[in-house]
């Protein structure tokens, strides 16, 4: 990757244009009749609105040619790393391959040209997409019905928690305003609960990394709206007591919310509905292969089970029907998987994670040695190279050194249960050779740290920029050009 240091504003030259528009509304026609009843003043915006409603200040947008735009953004793209660039083992993000046929389908004008308020009889195909995806997700998750309004996973969580509150309100049980969240939960869980006006009660994990059922019991009562869980949890461990947890929570009158961010290892193997979950969000941009787009657009459809169905009142959390373009991609992926391949998706993802874990546990601390699901967490290097007068290599150093070797780094310093967390998720779309290359590099980095941690401290060396000064950026923020 080469460093390119321009902002589009810096390419601007007064009078240069990158647009191609007709000169005037009726330029194509020199029809005298038009001019006759089309008063000249209305040709310009100033004629249509009084001066005090118009923009006073100059609009300082770039003035660049089409070639400038194409080169600039092509140059920017070349400082970026995506799944198509290389291995992207970012834990809890499920960076699987994004099939190209999905893009072709999602960009089809027979879908992209539909207005969201068009009458039902003119959007039958679009509706079939949504209905078909609903049915497929229900089959895969064991839920009854999905709403597609949420535009991301966290948006789904929020929508799902609103459904939880509606359920209790509809049953005259509105005093349930607390939600239990494990300490290992994704940060979005407590944040979504807070936005939904719920009080968060944290339940501790045991030494085995799983929710401690004995700690859970005293928290349950008539004020509990439900529990939010992801299973497998963020340590990549299956919450094996989920059956008992479900019974306890249901007996106290609460509901079980499933954070579908970690659904990938269960794809084709285990259904959240069967484990007793009542409400869940599915991250189509994770489990169903739609591209992450540098941080969206995603889609976080929310499913409900039998218990909630009679009280279903779908909260309008986005403007129209949700991110339809993302739904198209996910549905295409599911049709390619079909009933046959779906059964291998989760198991192959789990296989890759366990293969890496077992291949590296002699170099990196593995706090919980049991079989993992789609991801697992190391707690830093076994030998970080620390010695008299020299600090050891940290997880951040390992991550940055990985960039030098052409890999994206795993998720780091999450979950918060460990100080040096390195969370690795390979997904099912990576070959044995790719995993072996990654393992070899991770071992090499461990050897470098043991030999001289300074090699890691200075990393990365081969990227367009080195480590940034994040402190100054936050203290004296420059947020616009």
């Amino acid at each position: 990757m080469k460093y390119y240091d321009k902002l589009i504003f810096e390419l601007s030259r007064p009078g240069r244009i990158g647009y191609s528009l007709p000169d005037s509304f009726d330029a194509a026609k020199t029809d005298a009749a038009t001019d006759e009843h089309f008063s000249a003043k209305r040709r310009c915006i100033c004629g249509a609105a009084p001066q005090q409603l118009l923009r006073q200040s100059k609009l300082d947008l770039p003035e660049v040619s089409e070639v400038d735009v194409v080169r600039h953004y092509t140059n920017l793209s070349q400082m970026n790393f995506g799944v198509d660039t290389g291995f992207y083992p970012l834990g809890s993000c499920t960076m699987k391959y994004n099939p190209k046929i999905n893009e072709e389908i999602a960009n089809h004008p027979l879908f992209t040209g539909l207005h969201p308020l068009q009458p039902a009889e003119t959007v039958k195909g679009a509706q079939e997409v949504i209905d078909g995806l609903d049915k497929a997700l229900a089959a895969i998750t064991g839920m009854k019905h999905f709403t597609f309004l949420p535009c991301a996973g966290a948006h789904g969580e929020l929508t799902g928690l609103m459904l939880m509150r509606e359920y209790h309100m509809a049953r005259g049980d509105a005093a349930r305003t607390k939600v239990i969240v494990p300490d290992s939960a994704h940060g979005t869980n407590p944040a979504s609960a807070a936005v939904c006006g719920l009080e968060i009660v944290e339940v501790k994990s045991g030494a085995d990394g799983l929710v401690d059922v004995e700690s859970l019991k005293p928290l349950l009562g008539s004020d509990i709206a439900g529990i939010m869980m992801t299973n497998p949890n963020t340590l990549g461990l299956f919450e094996r007591q989920i059956g008992e947890i479900a019974k306890l929570v249901h007996d106290c009158g609460g509901l079980l919310y499933y954070d579908g961010a970690n659904m990938n290892p269960l794809l084709g193997k285990v259904r959240p509905g069967d484990m007793g979950f009542d409400i869940m969000q599915m991250n189509l941009h994770k489990t169903f292969s739609t591209p992450h787009g540098g941080g969206g657009p995603g889609s976080g459809p929310v499913g409900v089970g039998e218990r909630v169905l009679p009280y279903l009142r779908i909260p309008q959390t986005s403007g129209f029907h949700g991110n339809f373009g993302v739904m198209l991609r996910a549905y295409a992926y599911i049709l390619m998987l079909g009933k046959q391949n779906v059964k291998l998706a989760g198991p192959l993802a789990v296989l890759g994670a366990n293969y890496i874990k077992e291949s590296l546990k002699d170099c990196y601390k593995l706090p919980i040695p049991s079989v993992c699901k789609h991801e697992f967490v190391f707690d830093g290097l076994i030998n970080d190279g620390a010695r008299e007068g020299k600090a050891g290599a940290t997880t951040l150093d390992v991550a940055k050194r990985l960039l030098d070797y052409g890999f994206h780094a795993p998720t780091i310093y999450f979950p918060l249960l460990f100080h040096q967390a390195i969370m690795i998720e390979p997904t099912e779309t990576e070959s044995l050779e790719t995993l072996d290359e990654f393992i070899a590099v991770m071992r090499k980095i461990a050897a470098e740290a043991a030999e001289d941690p300074d090699i890691l401290h200075g990393a990365p060396h081969n990227t367009p920029i080195g480590r940034p000064d994040e402190t100054t950026a936050a203290r004296n923020p420059i947020l616009k050009a």
């Binding site: 990757m1 660039t85 969206g296």
Partner: protein, 433 residues
């Protein structure tokens, strides 16, 4: 194993990996899952399709939709999409990346977000923006939450019923659960009081009328509340900016900046605010910095507001936003520049006024808001049977004359030609009075 193009594993690979993992077969990887929860049945899904079958399947579905000439807006505007945009946004380095956590290999994403933030600030005249929101309506709801968080002991907001219905619906939904009192009012200034944290008004109302917000900021600020303006960012090339009206926060939907209408999404919301509220803004923010060698670089910044650090004390739960759609808008604005964007507005405005005049001439409508200024969207009072009118238009391939509050609404973008408008008017003339 039958083989599947997205799974690279050969039988040998699987054998090698199982051996290292210390299990005998793939089922062994689920030994920690109680047997009851292993799904034994067959998934109720179609048989796996080949790529060609999938393509044909969607082709057939696509053909079940009716391609219409769109003459309706109401939050989704059929503007022209320059060819450069899908070309750039489909570059896989952008498309297949995630949130730029590792800034050293994400300078592409970080730079375009910085450019997007800058452009949103320049359009609105405000100081700070973020990496984007899900859509306009949810951005409006988040802005109201921001107002409550930014003012002391005030838990009430006033929302103008001149906003589009989907904005009202989403705002109502978002604020119901954290128990923020929402007053919906046509004349928002009448509702001001000491407990009001924020006031949300549109710059163009649902009926298309450009709003005169003279005096709003003064009155709202006098009452100790924040003024939030919902605006169409495309129209800000010509209309008075939120900063010029004295607004504290601006929100809206960036769909008008070159995004296809795509049955309602994906679009991108935007939010911008005055410097004072910088630390209350939700979501990702990109800032400029330098690396160790002094090179200019860009990083995610002010993260202490966010969910992954602050958990339940975060300003919002939003993390993933609509990054690629922000790129979409950034490329659009780069291509358009100040003159192109002005021209888009002028062409749309000219077409809309032409249609307005022609429709009135048919004698089938009366003016709904005589003398009130509009840009590309307007309402008329129908004198004909609306159902008949709509059906005739549909039959002729037009989506137009959507019913709204007893009126019918139309919208004309620069994409609509004079021929199309004339053809639409000809259809209207066939509707019996």
């Amino acid at each position: 194993m039958a083989g599947f193009s997205y799974f690279p594993h050969t039988d040998d690979d699987i054998r090698v990996m199982l051996e290292r993992a210390g299990v005998r077969n793939l089922d062994g990887l689920y030994s920690d899952v109680p047997a009851d929860f292993i799904y034994q049945g067959e998934y109720d899904l179609p048989d796996a399709m080949s790529e060609q079958q999938v393509r044909d399947f969607f082709e057939k579905l696509g053909e079940k939709n009716t391609k219409l000439k769109v003459f309706v807006g109401q939050g989704a505007y059929d503007h022209y999409v320059p060819a450069v945009i899908p070309y750039i946004t489909s570059r896989s380095e952008f498309l297949t990346a995630y949130t730029p956590y590792q800034c050293e290999i994400s300078q592409g994403t970080l730079r375009y977000i910085f450019e997007w933030q800058s452009m949103i600030c320049r359009l609105t005249g405000l100081d700070v923006s973020n990496a984007s929101m899900y859509d306009g309506p949810s951005a409006a709801a988040e802005a109201l939450r921001m107002a409550v968080a930014s003012t002391r002991k005030r838990n009430k907001v006033i929302v103008s019923t001149k906003l589009m219905q989907n904005v009202l619906d989403v705002v109502k939904t978002y604020l119901k659960y954290p128990d923020i009192e929402v007053v919906f009012a046509w004349d928002v200034l009448d509702e001001l009081g000491p407990d009001v944290a924020g006031v949300l008004v549109p710059s163009i109302c649902r009926h298309g009328v450009i709003q005169d917000l003279t005096g709003y900021a003064e009155k709202v600020h006098e009452a100790g509340a924040l003024l939030i303006e919902y605006c169409d960012p495309s129209a800000l090339a010509v209309l008075k900016t939120p900063a010029e009206w004295g607004a504290d926060i601006a929100v809206g939907d960036a769909q008008t900046l070159g995004m296809p209408i795509c049955y309602g999404g994906p679009y991108a919301g935007f939010i911008a605010c005055k410097q004072d509220y910088m630390r209350k803004i939700p979501g990702r923010i990109v800032g400029q910095s330098v690396d160790a060698s002094g090179k200019r670089c860009f990083v995610l910044t002010l993260q202490a507001r966010e969910q992954h650090i602050r958990r339940e004390k975060a300003t919002s739960n939003i993390c993933s936003n609509e990054s690629l759609m922000a790129l979409w808008a950034t490329v659009y604005l780069s291509l358009m520049g100040p003159e192109g964007l002005r021209k888009v507005n002028e062409l749309s405005c000219a077409g809309a006024h032409y249609l307005y005049d022609e429709l009135l001439k048919t004698g089938r409508f009366e003016e709904a808001f005589p003398g009130r200024p509009f840009l590309k969207e307007f309402c008329l009072k129908p004198k004909v049977d609306v159902a008949v009118l709509q059906q005739k238009l549909l039959d002729a391939g037009f989506f137009a004359a959507l019913e709204l509050d007893g009126y019918v609404t139309f919208c004309v973008t620069e994409k609509r030609t004079k021929e199309e408008i004339d053809a639409l008017v000809a259809v209207v003339k066939e509707v019996a009075l």
